[in-house]
């Protein structure tokens, strides 16, 4: 049997390829019939302002630790196979990919639920901060109560 050695968390400035990530999740993985992926991208508008770019800052060390903890909780709650989380940092522009979450499982329900759980917890626990450049100036984004409520529902 070929051992699968996935690095589950990657914080990087470089872009990623959805196709490559899916290929890695599927490679030598005959047991999982479901692959669920989520990709987050930079929107052109936020809170009524025209966005030109955003800069992502993170707390190196804590970011990896908190994401590993979220993934471990997801593995305890659902019967999932492989997990990959990628989050980009640095300056990103409209349409750029920001975040990727990929989860495999034997059947779709576990992968769907675990993927959403990981994304919801990443939003409220992983130490990333966005600073937006807009047509009305540059400012740090405020956390949304709706994100807190969403994570609290799990």
């Amino acid at each position: 049997m070929i051992e699968y050695n996935i690095v589950e968390v990657s914080i990087q400035t470089a872009d990623f390829s959805l196709a490559d990530e899916v290929a890695l999740l599927e490679q030598n993985n005959a047991t999982d019939g479901a692959v669920v992926t989520f990709t987050g991208r930079v929107r052109n508008k936020n809170e009524g302002k025209e966005v030109t770019s955003l800069t992502l800052e993170h707390y190196s060390g804590m970011t990896e630790k908190s994401l590993a903890k979220i993934i471990s909780t997801a593995k305890d709650r659902w019967r999932i196979g492989r997990v990959k989380v990628i989050h980009r940092v640095g300056e990103l522009f409209i349409g750029d990919q920001i975040v990727f979450v990929g989860v495999t499982s034997k059947h779709r329900q576990d992968a769907f639920a675990a993927n959403e759980f990981i994304m919801d917890y990443l939003k409220v626990q992983a130490p990333f901060w966005k600073k937006e450049k807009t047509n009305q100036g540059e400012y740090w984004l405020n956390a949304k109560t709706s994100d807190e409520n969403k994570a609290a529902k799990w």
Binding site: E57, S66, K123, P127, F128, W129, A143
Partner: protein, 82 residues
């Protein structure tokens, strides 16, 4: 000594990304916040903000968390990644 690090809007408001502080007389994260708030009006404003988050050695904690020499304590605003 304790290493204290600041992120995002906090780092800009304080114009400081990290500092070292003696942990003598500081038992908890709450004690450290009180100590930092005493620095001046700007720091007072930042460290009495109830939405401020804290981590000790990369784990999110509350004000009652104990701190000891060699710890890394971080303060930051609510997170906005994803």
């Amino acid at each position: 000594m304790i290493k204290v690090v600041f992120f995002a809007t906090l780092r800009e408001q304080l114009d400081c990304s990290e500092l070292s502080i003696s942990n003598e007389n500081l038992a908890t994260v709450g004690d450290l916040k009180t100590e930092l708030a005493n620095k001046n009006e700007q720091w007072q404003q930042v460290f009495t903000n109830s939405s401020l988050l804290a981590a000790v050695n990369h784990d999110m904690v509350n004000n009652e968390a104990l701190i000891k020499s060699g710890d890394e304590v971080a303060f930051f605003p609510p997170v906005t990644g994803g």
